[in-house]
Symmetry: C3
């Protein structure tokens, strides 16, 4: 590739990653939960882990879903069976960093803040942390091979119902 | 257009939209309120609506200004006539999603968080939500044909004085 | 340069600036404090100033480090000598605005929100404001010639230990 083509490829990759993150956030915040597993490849992994454990290399995660099927189960739980007071979420995600690239596989991370709004209440900081992702290119565009959400607060609010 | 030119056009459009959002946020947070109507076309619309109403398709909005003239009136009110305790705002806006494009008209959305700081107090979450915008290209660059701010908390703080 | 080359240069500059901000934030939030001075040129400046003073043109800053050496001292203080309860930080930074460009020197600004998480506690808004930066191109990539953090709350939390 020419230098110009390399530059354009780098710019497009960054754009696509940031757009993937934005679309993911929009799907969750608009409560289109059934769209959530579709952001992953079929054998994709979604994990939610306290920073405390992540930093120490401990395996314990609050949630670990190791396939799109498990994610669909989770969505069923969220929308049909789990008793909980509903709340709104709002994700604000910073620009992703591309940490490594190997062909069609990219390692990235991005900082996120999720705000929660309960009925009749004001908005509050809910969960902040870092997405650590492996993203792959598929015929349907970029998908998460794995998304690890490392959140800063070990004090998990009991109402952490919806995906981060 | 060649494929490379299409890519570059897409990248530039994204850049311009994100820069428009950043400039809008900077004008408000730096209290250059007189600049605020200039981000819109003359017949532009600015609305502020609770998510509750938006999601149900209800028309009720907390504020609906249907022209640049109405926005100028609002700025006059804010800066000259409304009695209120001043506060600082700080917008953090995520990358915009381009939802549709029709010639020089683009539909976009972006997640925002606005923090408020009152004199002598610490900063707090003030208003979070989503901008739903129609943006048009004019000889003076991109402008909002309409900006709809859909905020998550139905509990509107009585001091929602400045534009979001 | 051709028009296409100008466009690509502008896109790449924006990408590099946003990536610099993202890498800076990641270094601090991952507590790689020894990496922090390296984001600056040797004679670089880091200042932390209340908006109150900045807006009035007053010189008083909460912190003013006028070289990489002073920053290294500060890192030594943070990690070795200052008694404090540790806390996690999480930066979410919006896209930068390029305000002026003169050869390899660029003036930019970006809005930031920093969240704090203390052990056993939930995450909270810690410090929000605006980075006002002078960035220069060096053989090692973009570096800060100066970074001024203008924070909105004059009420500085006594535990503002780590860099913003």
């Amino acid at each position: 590739m020419s230098e110009g083509a390399v530059d354009t490829a780098r710019l497009l990759l960054q754009l696509e990653i940031d757009q993937l993150n934005a679309a993911y956030a929009a799907a969750l915040d608009e409560r289109r939960f059934e769209d959530w597993p579709v952001f992953f490849v079929p054998e994709g992994s979604y994990r939610l882990q306290a920073r405390e454990n992540f930093d120490r290399g401990l395996p314990l995660a609050l949630m670990a879903l190791e396939s799109q099927g498990m994610m669909k189960d989770r969505v069923y739980g969220i929308t049909q069976t789990i008793y909980h007071v509903p709340y709104y979420t709002r994700h604000v995600v910073g620009p992703a960093q591309v940490l490594a690239q190997d062909g069609d596989r990219v390692k990235t991370q991005a900082h996120y803040a999720v705000f929660r709004t309960r009925p009749g209440d004001s908005s509050e900081v809910f969960n902040v942390g870092r997405y650590i992702d492996e993203i792959v290119r598929t015929p349907d565009g970029l998908k998460f091979a794995s998304r690890l959400c490392v959140y800063d607060s070990e004090m998990v609010l009991n109402s952490l119902i919806y995906p981060i």
